[in-house]
Amino acid sequence: MPDFSRVLCAVDLTDPSRRALDCALWWARQHGADVSVLHVRHLPPPPADSAGIAGDVTTPAPEPVPVAAPLLTPDQRAERLLELEAFVHDARTDGLQVEVLLDEEATVAGAILARADALAADLIVIGAGTHTTSDHPALGRVSAGVLAGAPCSVLVVPPPAPDVANPCIGGVNRIMCAVSLSQASVHALECAASLAGQSAAQLTVVHVVEFFSEVAALAYDFDAHREARLQPACDELVALVAMVVGRHRPVEEIVAQGTASREILKLAVEESADLIVVSRGSGAGARAGGRHTGQAVARDARCAVLFVHAEAPVPMLDQEPLHGAERRDAPASGAHGLTPQEPRRR
């Protein structure tokens, strides 16, 4: 059962962060959590020419220099806190324990992470903060920084738009959990299954098999190679769902092929998912549920994305005794899904 009793929501007093705040308050209400709302006043770094080049061989590394912008005076700080409190109390806070916090740091993501650590937060809620300053939209720098270093789970909320799901209004009816079949996936799926149970939501578990990086090397028999990877993926997904969710609870299992983030996003739209759940920073790289895939999903998702923090190691699937017993009783060709056998001679 996931514990989300301490929620930290980072806001920058914009409309997108208001949606993040609404989601944080809604989430806290669902889980009986306390909420800390943090605004970090960004202190710009000093001009480059004022400090020289740190570490330059001809210039000794300078002593730490004060940031360019001065800290707020007590009066300015009190005024900014009032502004923050007004922002928070415009939202629905009834029945919730909410505190507002104001920090001033040169690194916003670092300040959020430090607060999360100090508060022992179970969940950080933050807006996706996507921007399009380059040719390709990217996850906001602050959001990406928080995702990279968070000591807990992170809920990334997309900016409000007509086609973006708003759990604060419609609740969570459909949860999609994207798994990489790694150890971290077990935590993500446990969390997704628990949330689905609490919300009486439909649960879909997705695994994407990626081939694009192997095409060149395997062009001589790509179809056979693809099939050799797809079948084990189907079997592993079935086994993972059976172990974590159980065999009889309503759940949908999907194995797709393609680029993980693209397929997850496509399926989330097809399934009208209100929430996507992935594991956070499993080191799986581009695999589904891995850090890079997760960030790409959070960047373009039309619903909130929950990155589940894996706190403790869990048994690997092939070490699970329940399945060992079940597999002994299963037909040699597999009890779940289907198992094509290699061509054989008569």
């Binding site: 439909q202 899904g337 198992t339 056998q341 001679r345």
Partner: protein, 96 residues
């Protein structure tokens, strides 16, 4: 001498009447229930990113399986017994 491919699918609470199979290009498509049929249709329309789908709520099932070279698709046979679908795809005679 010939090769054959055998595919087994566990489809509890499904009757033979609910199962659809089709060979499309080099793949054998198997579907059960309306949700599976919808997925099969999408696959035929060119949207082949989903290769396996099982929905315990609706009983829908879909699976796309690559058929190796040399399979005689005109002789594919399937039986359904106790919720287990067995599809047998014989190979072409090597000497033919």
């Amino acid at each position: 001498m010939q090769d054959q491919v055998i595919v087994r699918v566990d489809l509890p609470d499904t009757t033979a009447a609910d199962v659809m199979m089709q060979v499309h290009q080099t793949r054998l498509l198997i579907a059960a229930g309306p949700a599976g049929a919808a997925q099969l249709l999408k696959h035929l329309e060119g949207d082949g990113h989903v290769v396996y789908r099982r929905d315990r709520r609706t009983g829908g099932f879909f699976r796309s399986v690559l058929l190796p070279d040399g399979v005689n698709v005109d002789e594919i046979k399937a039986t359904m017994h106790d919720g287990v679908l067995v599809v047998t795809a014989p190979g072409k005679d090597r000497d033919a």
